[in-house]
């Protein structure tokens, strides 16, 4: 079955439920062994920043969940370069090694999707 899913992450974690729900959806999709990519654009890149500790918010840290996706064969994680740069972030500020991509590449990844799931 060719069903390529791109999960588009554009929201910061903690301020809304989007990041956590996206993670749950990704895990659910991974169970069905669909071809899945996760694309971090705009405030979505904040989900991957190192050193998140939401204990005082009584929430679970979301950033460190993403490296664990490799265990369920979700390995295509992409981060938009301009979104990262305009937030003063570098790839080494992130919880894991990701593929840093240009605006053109972001569009190509979206173009290659059968379904885009926006969060």
């Amino acid at each position: 079955m060719s069903n390529k899913v791109v999960v588009l992450m554009r929201k910061a974690p903690y301020g809304s439920v989007y990041t956590a729900e996206a993670f749950r959806s990704i895990m659910g999709i991974a169970v069905f062994e669909l071809d899945i990519s996760v694309l971090f654009v705009d405030d979505g890149v904040y989900a991957l920043v190192k050193g998140q500790n939401p204990a005082k918010l009584e929430m679970k840290p979301l950033g460190e969940a993403f490296p664990m996706l490799a265990d369920v064969q979700v390995q295509e994680l992409y981060v938009h370069d301009e979104s990262l740069a305009e937030r003063g972030l570098r790839p080494e500020d992130l919880v894991m090694e990701v593929k840093v991509v240009s605006s053109t590449q972001v569009a190509q990844i979206l173009e290659g999707a059968d379904k885009v799931l926006p969060f």
Binding site: L8, R10, D42, A107, K115, V116, P118
Partner: protein
């Protein structure tokens, strides 16, 4: 791909964000609060004109009418639900929530 925007351009940066990603010629649909971008004379007009230079831009009539927007920036194509369905049939969608 059809890029879909449902946030006001004056309170969210969804439109400018789409404009740096969407390739030349990709259609953009304004719906829900996204239709506020269609208003002539708003601070967002320059951004919308930039969008129109590179993309077909559509706005959903039901959302325009609901918000009392009777006039749209020249070049924006006002469509109904039928037109909306046609667009979705022709393109995969990227909802830029």
């Amino acid at each position: 791909m059809l890029y879909m925007i449902n946030k006001s351009p004056l309170s969210a940066s969804n439109l400018s964000s789409v404009l740096r990603i969407a390739p030349q010629g990709a259609p953009i649909l304004l719906y829900e609060d996204g239709v506020y971008a269609a208003i002539p004379g708003a601070r967002s007009e320059a951004l919308v004109r930039e969008a129109l230079a590179h993309h077909p831009l559509y706005a959903l009539d039901a959302d325009l009418e609901a918000r009392g927007i009777g006039q749209v920036i020249e070049g924006i194509q006002v469509i109904g639900y039928e037109g909306f369905v046609e667009l979705v049939e022709q393109h995969n969608v990227v909802p830029w929530l």
